[in-house]
């Protein structure tokens, strides 16, 4: 199977889901409409043999429209193909359907995207923060979050009082 066959199959099965196909540096990227990502993943997994989700990366494009981008990295082990899917969402409504129903291991990757970039996943079974504690209110990988952090944003345990003697 080749990438052309994969894309042709996807276009035939889900004609309205694919926005753009880009090829560069020997890698294929498909830009998918955000609300169809779960369907695209389901077709890729059940019909085209993409059985392993490697990674989900969240990117802050820092643009006024379609600010956030999610990058899915999928593998078809039997065919030796690596495919990249992309979806974009708005800053005002950063919600994307969760793909945990298709790839259970998307769970933690989506939690990471929520924690670091503040993208919410519809239908995620357990959308908690993963690195930062729940008490933290910011999403540190956004471009408008300062490198040095925000003073007082994270409550720290108080210093124990020095002993009297």
């Amino acid at each position: 199977m080749t990438f052309d066959e994969v894309i042709a199959h996807l276009e035939a099965r889900l004609p309205d889901a694919i926005c753009e196909v880009r090829r560069a540096l020997g890698e294929t990227t498909i830009l998918v409409r955000a609300e169809r990502i779960r369907d695209v993943c389901a077709v890729l997994k059940s019909e085209l043999g993409f059985n392993y989700l490697v990674d989900i990366a969240a990117v802050d494009r820092f643009t006024s429209e379609e600010r956030f981008e999610l990058v899915y990295n999928l593998l078809a082990l039997a065919h030796g193909l690596r495919l990249r899917l992309k979806v974009r969402c708005e800053e005002s409504h950063p919600v994307v359907p969760s793909i945990t129903a298709v790839y259970p291991n998307a769970n933690w990757h989506e939690r990471e995207a929520w924690d670091m970039m503040g993208i919410r996943f519809e239908g995620h079974p357990d959308l908690r923060r993963i690195y930062m504690p729940e008490d933290f209110r910011y999403h540190p990988l956004r471009k408008d979050f300062p490198l040095l952090g925000i003073p007082g944003s994270l409550p720290l345990p108080e210093k124990p009082e020095a002993s009297r003697n």
Binding site: E27, Y52, V54, D55, A57, L75, R129, L141, F145
Partner: protein, 436 residues
């Protein structure tokens, strides 16, 4: 009827119906003795049939770092558990956006600190693919050798600590003796033992000296003998087998669903290894086998890693034989650091060194790339988006330990509490990498 008598009655009834099937009399006598010592002891029920919540870590030596497991126990069985990570989160993906690609390299040393060289190589390969930088052959061979040494380094720590988790401490000392030798080799290769940062974008920092090559030769001559001795000790060791056989079984489909990676995935029967799937460096020029087991239990993970170490020795041997002469860095000074001789003794060299440090290598605007290597723990990948400057717009690290720990949660559910430590040891996570 006073309290004591009532308690005793309840105790007798409890013992009668309890799970204490062996040594009933003995246990009864023990409980009576306990009761006579503390007349106020109250028996709420059989400890084995009551649920309790146990918190393991984050400060626990057996969790290999700062992993925290909160488990709900039914007797000795873990009914459900939650894994909490992030205690070592340093935000290195954020830091990366404020560093040039080369400046970021020392941070990668501190991800999987058991195999720093692999992390360096993964970053370099991603940047080189992104900016289309050619790397001389000799450098690729040096990287391959060092990557395989790093794999030995990581697997040796895994072996020592896992056998220690199962109760044998002497093994730890033997594997650490061998690790010490590899650290000495890294000292000869890179001038540093642990945080090597020896790779450069477009090549490596320094050539292998004859002394270093001799040290590597001596090491791989001796190492298979050590490996055989350890296998002799473990492969038929009843305690070792019984602690590991049939523990934490994961089928091939389940392993893919859980997102296991590296040796853990291969122990479940999925022959996925980035070295053969998408050959990088010079892995397509050397002969080696990818060990795969189908049992999917902790013992299979042990066999896979042991065999991987043997294959690593094979790869290093072949690389040393094939090691071609030639330059060790790309000679275009816009793409890679110039030689130190040039920097010290020529004006252009100095200017290039300055330029490279300040601006770094600038990949085309809008370019993006994902490059992965087979690190000792699994697929380690860097996804980079460039905005045309010397700094990455976004650098996402796909760390194998993160994925393995995710799978740990469902592997632990249904296991015995006494197996937790062995299971964590078998999956071999490194928190520095999982928490980024």
């Amino acid at each position: 009827m006073d309290t004591l008598t009532r308690t005793r009655r309840r105790l007798e009834a409890l013992i009668e119906e309890s799970h204490l099937e062996i040594w009933r009399e003995h246990n009864r006598a023990l409980l009576r003795r306990l009761e006579s010592k503390h007349s106020s002891v109250e028996f709420i029920g059989d400890a084995l049939s009551t649920e309790m919540v146990l918190n393991i870590g984050p400060q626990h030596p057996a969790t290999h770092g700062v992993l925290r497991v909160v488990a709900r126990l039914d007797g000795e069985i873990i009914r459900s558990c939650v894994i909490d990570i992030g205690y070592l989160h340093r935000g290195i993906e954020k830091v990366a956006e404020y560093k040039t690609f080369q400046e970021f390299m020392p941070y990668t040393d501190r991800m999987d600190y058991l195999s720093p060289y692999s992390n360096n190589v993964a970053l370099c390969l991603a940047v080189e693919k992104l900016a289309q930088i050619e790397v001389p052959e000799r450098a690729q061979y040096i990287r391959t050798i060092a990557c395989e040494l790093a794999r030995l380094l990581a697997h040796l720590l895994w072996l020592g600590s896992m056998v220690m988790d199962a109760g044998a401490v002497s093994m730890f000392l033997w594997t650490f003796r061998e690790r010490e030798k590899i650290y000495d080799i890294f000292d000869l290769i890179a001038g540093a033992r642990l945080t090597v940062s020896h790779c450069r974008i477009g090549g490596v920092a320094s050539d292998l000296t004859p002394e270093a090559i001799e040290a590597i030769r001596a090491f791989i001559r001796n190492f298979p003998r050590e490996l055989r001795a350890w296998e002799k000790l473990l492969n038929k060791n009843r305690i070792w087998l019984e602690r590991n056989e049939g523990i934490g079984v994961v089928s091939a489909e389940r392993a893919l669903e859980l997102g296991l990676t590296g040796p853990n995935l291969r122990a479940s029967g999925v022959p996925y290894d980035v070295r053969t799937f998408e050959p990088y460096l010079v892995y397509d020029r050397v002969e080696f086998e990818v060990p795969v087991r189908t049992e999917g239990d902790n013992l299979a993970r042990y066999y896979v890693r042991m065999e991987e170490m043997r294959q690593s020795v094979r790869i290093i041997e072949q690389c040393l034989q094939q090691l071609p002469p030639g330059p060790i860095r790309n000679e275009n000074a816009k793409l890679s650091y110039p030689d130190k001789q040039e920097v010290y003794y020529s004006m252009e060299g100095l200017i290039h060194d300055f330029m490279y440090t300040h601006w770094g290598v600038c990949p085309p605007k809008g370019a993006e790339v994902y490059a992965a290597i087979e690190a000792p723990k699994g697929e380690l990948g860097f996804y980079i988006q460039s905005d045309g400057t010397g700094f990455p717009w976004r650098l996402k690290i796909r760390s194998p330990s993160f994925c393995n720990i995710q799978a740990l949660e469902s592997i632990l559910e249904g296991a015995m509490v006494s197996d937790v430590v062995v299971l964590i040891g078998g999956l071999d996570p490194v928190m520095g990498e999982a928490d980024k």
